[in-house]
């Protein structure tokens, strides 16, 4: 139970963890490693000791070629995966202290995900897609729909509430996905190649939306191999061979 409480209330436990200067950073990683064993038994070190700190409200881009370990890093930051060694604090909460349900709660309340391939439920309306994270928070149906509608309006899709993904353009689908990431008022948006499947105009629109959200106070962590997209971040973290090569 205490684990759940911690997962549900990162803000309070952040105070408890005693950071000297008020609000803890969004992410604080020390010596993160992640190794996989492939089917053949070969051990692969995807991350070989990453330490970094991303503050509240920052706009950072994690850049690197494919195979650099940037996706692994994003999975760790997004609490979708656990590090092999090293510590990671998300909003001041050490993820090692959380069980799987605790991690799920942390993802649900603190992090909004935006994926390259949108990951929308195909036979579900934009409204219900956006409302999905609130289902796992136990929010009532009426409130879910109301908040989902507000989120869709915020991304400029107030007129597409009942449309299904198949009835929308790629850019609209990604905006639905962003609305879904936003609906739970997260502290951080984790975007994995958000423009990767979009044309230039739609990509520009999505980037503009992310920047506007960042100005509203949400930290945005962008994972990309596209230098042009990465240049939009105020900070670029270059990852290569499982290590941070450059952080500017």
């Amino acid at each position: 139970m205490s684990r759940d409480e911690r997962a549900d209330g990162p803000a309070t436990s952040a105070t408890a963890s005693g950071t000297a200067y008020g609000t803890p950073p969004a992410f604080e990683a020390v010596g993160l490693t992640r190794s996989y064993r492939l089917d053949g038994g070969v051990l692969v070190d995807a991350l070989r000791g990453v330490s970094l700190r991303i503050g509240q409200g920052e706009f950072a881009a994690i850049v690197g070629p494919s195979g650099s370990g940037k996706s692994t890093l994003m999975h760790l930051l997004g609490c979708l995966d656990r590090p092999t060694s090293g510590t990671l604090r998300v909003n001041g909460v050490d993820v090692a202290t959380l069980d799987d349900a605790g991690l799920a709660g942390l993802r649900n309340r603190t992090i909004g995900f935006v994926f390259q391939s949108f990951h929308l439920l195909a036979r579900t309306s934009a409204l219900d897609n956006v409302a999905l994270p609130l289902v796992y928070r136990g929010v009532s149906r009426a409130e879910r729909r109301e908040r989902a509608r507000a989120a869709l309006e915020a991304v400029g899709l107030g007129h597409r509430l009942t449309h299904r993904p198949s009835q929308m353009s790629g850019g609209e689908q990604q905006r639905v996905a962003i609305a879904r990431a936003l609906v739970g008022d997260p502290r951080v948006l984790l975007a994995d190649e958000p423009t990767g499947n979009l044309d230039t105009r739609n990509g520009e629109e999505v980037m503009g939306l992310l920047e506007r959200l960042n100005e509203g106070g949400v930290a945005v962590v962008l994972v990309t191999h596209d230098a042009e997209v990465a240049a939009r971040g105020r900070r670029q973290i270059h990852v290569r061979d499982g290590r941070i090569e450059r952080d500017t």
Binding site: H75, G78, L80, D81, D100, A101, A104, G105, R107, N108, R109, F113, F115, H119, L121, R123, T124, L132, P133, V135, Y136, R137, G138, S140, R141, R180, G184
Partner: protein, 394 residues
């Protein structure tokens, strides 16, 4: 709250794969349907037999020579009318004791001939057995004492021999001897394969002379109440054992018959239900199979839901509810068609079918349990999926 949501999702998932859901349900439907129908037939058979036994009359003890039971060799009767008089003294109330001498003979009227079961009995028969008359009268004491050649016909014999003509006062010929019809019984159906409407009753004394043996086949004693049956049975058996040391007599009561037959038919019903249960089990395996397919197909969706904050148990619940929904909807359809089938069987065939509430409740409960049991493995597989791996799946 979350359960309502999971239910909505499950309904949606089943609706999307309508054909597949229907085919999966079909296995459960057939299983439940066969449970309901077979139990209905088993119970119907039991009820029918119990009704037949009860139709004999109430509180009857049948005394026969030898051992009664499956595989026991028939015993040559050594009882005669003096033994009936003896049992009457033991019982105390002579009107509650009657007698049976059985034989089979053709009964003829003109050119029409019917094979009938001849039963020699006496004036006390209606006091012991429940055998209403349609017309005429029962045997009297004088009929027995003076060996009158009179008969009472079972309804079927009467119909075959006389058709629409009133048989009272008319003549029938049995083994070359003429008899006068004094009564016709009401239709009562059959007991243990004995077609009682094909019986012809005549005075026991007349019957003995016709057959040529002074023996009787059995004595029937009527007890005054259900509590009287067992003590009376013991008293009669003890008295006969004392009169004929070294010989065995059996007295069978209705309760014993009901008990034995009830046990046998109950077992039969159980076996039928178990066989039907196997098909329900096979239906359950189908559910398990299709749920595994469903989990594999929706791996990406599961990954996404987990990324958005679904816990393992949320996913587990979602798939379990889906499986249980499949089997319970199948169960309800199976129950409805099963009840319909049982009613149909009852209406168009001689097979008795009696729908029991316990079999319906059981079938429903079992189908829900089958959903849980066979849904757990796929649902756990879904719940344990690693979100990173699941999201990467294509």
């Amino acid at each position: 709250m979350r359960t309502a949501e999971a239910l909505r999702m499950a309904v949606e998932a089943l609706r999307v794969n309508r054909l597949r859901s229907m085919l999966t349900m079909l296995g459960v439907i057939i299983g439940v349907l066969s449970v309901v129908i077979l139990v209905a037939i088993g119970t119907g058979a039991k009820n029918a037999v119990e009704k037949e036994i009860a139709g004999l009359g109430s509180n009857i003890i049948l005394v026969v020579p030898g051992q009664v039971g499956l595989g026991a060799a028939p015993t040559q009767s050594r009882l005669d009318l003096s033994d009936v008089a003896y049992v009457r003294r033991v019982v105390g109330d002579p009107s509650k004791v009657t007698v049976a001498v059985n034989s089979g003979e053709p009964v003829r009227v003109g050119r029409v001939e019917v094979f009938a079961t001849l039963t020699g009995t006496d004036e006390n028969m209606p006091h012991v057995f429940d055998r209403p008359l349609r017309r005429g009268r029962y045997l009297s004491e004088t009929d027995v004492d003076t060996r009158r050649r009179v008969v009472i016909l079972g309804s079927e014999v009467a119909a075959k021999l006389f058709g629409d003509v009133d048989p009272i006062g008319r003549q029938v010929t049995i083994a070359g001897v003429r008899f006068r019809v004094i009564g016709v019984y009401e239709t009562v159906g059959s007991t243990f394969g004995v077609a009682r409407d094909q019986e012809v009753h005549l005075p026991v004394t007349t019957a003995q002379r016709l057959i040529g043996l002074p023996r009787i086949n059995g004595i029937a004693v009527g007890a005054s109440g259900p509590d009287e049956i067992e003590p009376l049975r013991r008293r009669v058996v003890a008295a006969l054992d004392a009169r004929y040391p070294g010989e065995t007599f059996s007295a069978v009561t209705q309760t014993q018959l009901l008990g034995t037959i009830g046990t046998v038919l109950g077992m039969l019903t159980g076996v039928l239900a178990a066989i039907a249960g196997i098909s329900l089990l096979v239906g359950g395996v189908g559910v398990s199979n299709i749920m595994l397919v469903s989990v594999r197909e929706r791996t990406k969706e599961i990954g996404l839901r987990k990324a958005l904050g679904a816990r393992g148990r949320d996913i587990l619940g979602q798939f379990l509810i889906e499986a249980v929904l499949l089997t319970t909807i199948g169960g309800v359809i199976g129950i409805l068609t099963g009840v319909g089938g049982a009613l149909l069987i009852q209406a168009v065939s001689p097979v008795p079918a009696s729908i029991t509430w316990w079999s319906i409740a059981l079938a429903f409960g079992v189908s829900a349990a089958v959903g849980v049991f066979f849904g757990v493995a796929p649902a756990r597989r879904a719940a344990r999926l690693d979100p990173v791996v699941a999201l990467r799946t294509d």
